[in-house]
């Protein structure tokens, strides 16, 4: 395996980590909608913890290895139009992903507080928060941005 093969493998692995994590969050967003028991919400939100680490490490690694490949490749340059578009989408995905994460973390914190107070019965406040949080909108923008990134990486418009 050449050094360039390793770079591509690491870049693709990091990209897999990002999309896989966004998939985990999407499943959580959809399946957590009907949760109203605080302890249940706390248990289910834990599923996202490994994905949170993966998406943070993966997004930085995918960008870093991607730029490295572009510098080494005679076919591409880091300032190519489709790569500039990818940087923009990467930034949008990162910013909106962080906002979404913060919104859901707030709900998780509230669920933990309810559990600590011994209020284990179904909570209308929790159900409403999960249904109406703006974290869903930010997650949707993140998902579309990541999908756009994948389109750019595969189709390479203008390359």
């Amino acid at each position: 395996m050449s050094f360039d093969d390793w770079l591509i493998f690491l870049h693709v692995t990091a990209a897999f980590a990002v999309v896989a994590s966004v998939t985990v969050f999407s499943i959580l967003v959809v399946l957590a909608r009907k949760i109203d028991r605080p302890a249940e919400a706390v248990a289910v939100f834990r599923i996202g913890d490994p994905a949170t680490l993966l998406v943070q490490a993966g997004s930085v690694a995918a960008l870093g290895f991607g730029i490295w490949i572009a510098i080494r490749s005679p076919l591409y340059h880091p300032w190519d139009g489709w790569l500039i578009g990818a940087y923009v989408l990467w930034a949008v995905a990162g910013a909106c992903g962080a906002r979404s994460g913060m919104a859901y973390e707030k709900i998780r914190k509230r669920a933990k507080e309810l559990v600590a107070e011994g209020r284990l019965e179904p909570s209308e406040e929790l159900r409403e928060a999960l249904r109406t949080t703006n974290g869903r909108l930010f997650h949707l923008i993140t998902t579309l941005s990541v999908l756009g990134l994948l389109v750019l990486m595969i189709f390479k418009p203008g390359a």
Binding site: F16, A20, T23, L31, I154
Partner: protein
């Protein structure tokens, strides 16, 4: 920089293949995490976590597997039209992993479904966890083979 050098006619099947594989890995990760969390002693809402794992497998992993596999066959027909000789090793690895992974995914779904019917965690959930972990490991092998293309 996925798939650096290829004709543009491969773009759509490649996109379907890669997106399917990425979502498959995510769905397996969600199921594996949920299974692993419900193993812990005295865990509350173990049944919820088992249901979550089953739904992740059925509603996300299975459709993603089909997208990945259809994309793979589609791009294979373009890259290696019939009569083009023996397949390279990495193609063989890919087919072996996806076929075995598909069978294991069906088995994991059935086990996970049966586990949702139980009050407590047990052998079924444990077996589903192990199978899900094996599929995820196989997918990593496939990812390595697809990107580095060992001949």
């Amino acid at each position: 920089m996925l798939a650096s050098f290829h004709p543009t006619s491969w773009d759509v099947p490649l996109f379907l293949h890669v997106l399917g594989a990425m979502v498959l890995v995510g769905a397996l990760l969600a199921a594996l995490t949920a299974f692993a969390l419900q193993w812990r002693p005295a865990v509350e809402f173990g049944a919820t976590l088992r249901r979550f794992a089953f739904r992740s497998l059925l509603a996300a992993a299975v459709p993603a597997f089909f997208a990945m596999r259809i994309g793979a066959q589609w791009i294979y027909s373009k890259e290696f039209p019939s009569g083009s000789g023996d397949d390279p090793t990495w193609v063989g690895i890919g087919f072996m992993v996806s076929d075995l992974g598909g069978l294991l995914l069906i088995a994991a779904c059935v086990l996970a479904w049966r586990a949702t019917k139980r009050e407590a965690t047990g052998g079924l959930a444990r077996a589903a966890t192990i199978l899900t972990g094996i599929i995820l490991a196989l997918d990593l092998v496939a990812m390595w083979a697809m990107t580095t293309k060992p001949s």
